[in-house]
Symmetry: C2
């Protein structure tokens, strides 16, 4: 059932017009069943997104690869945001569908988790002397991976790889301590 939904999103060219009825039909099931299983549209989209997001989540929680505790904080932050960006790129249609609903995306558990992780990393990266707030900085950095911004940039002719490079530069600059 989740798989059917995933297929729909993967194949449709217009993710924002995918309706619950469509998904139900594609899964060979009634709308009632769909709603009983996921509560509402957001629930379904969340479940799908959570599934795709899991690898990154476990990698971070087990401190694997670039997220190992020994790595410098700035490096961890850049890698983390790059990973989130890649997640968005890979699940582009799904993310657009989420946006089409009035899900601000910031209200999901996943955003909260991402924010918390980033805040933790920022606490390591920022010297205590700065007056920059990790709270602001975390949200500001996460704004860089919002799907509508990503879409705009891709539509403007930027390649995904170039986008990743620019973002890395942007994040690095944002973390530079001044004044």
């Amino acid at each position: 059932m989740l798989d059917a939904a995933a297929t729909v999103f993967a194949t449709t060219p217009a993710p924002e017009s995918v309706t619950m009825g469509t998904i139900a039909a594609a899964a060979g099931v009634g709308k009632g069943t769909l709603f009983r299983a996921f509560g509402d549209r957001d629930g379904l989209l969340d479940a799908l997104a959570a599934e795709r997001f899991r690898p990154l989540r476990t990698a971070v929680e087990h401190a694997e690869g670039d997220f190992a505790t020994g790595r410098p904080a700035v490096r961890r932050i850049v890698s983390f945001l790059d990973a989130v960006l890649r997640f968005k790129l890979e699940n582009h249609n799904l993310m657009r569908a989420r946006e089409a609903a009035s899900v601000t995306s910031r209200s999901s558990d996943r955003y909260r988790w991402t924010y918390d992780v980033l805040c933790g990393m920022l606490a390591d990266a920022l010297p205590a002397s700065t007056h920059r707030s990790p709270h602001y900085l975390a949200h500001a950095l996460l704004a860089l991976v919002q799907i509508d911004l990503v879409d705009e940039l891709l539509a403007g002719g930027l390649s995904p790889d170039e986008l990743r490079r620019q973002q890395a530069a942007q994040v690095t600059a944002a973390l530079a301590i001044r004044s």
Copy 2:
């Protein structure tokens, strides 16, 4: 008619649930008239926003105050983004209503104009040697004033003034040239 709409948005506590019927009723007019005058919901919201935005627009186009051509580019950029942020704060409900529709906000003329202005300023501020793209940077900086981010930060306990300070710091840092 525009005034009636403005009043509705100014007084309602739940901007995203303001319906076209509500506005028509408040203006003492039929829905047909409303749609004939503005085309669709987006048209109305755009017209309202454009009206409120005009002061800033003319100030920039006449190079007044902080936007005078003599001023250093970084100063102009920080002031400009601060002015846009203030605009968003002052028209908070209206902006939220826009977001509720599926208007990505980046498709409006106003966004385009804002982007162009910022790009022009960035061309002055960035040395030719950097590999940072003004295109990316402009969109990235404008992401800082997206209404949902602003909302999240306000909801998180940040005061509007503190928000403006943090944004100024963030913009300054982003413009620092490194590597």
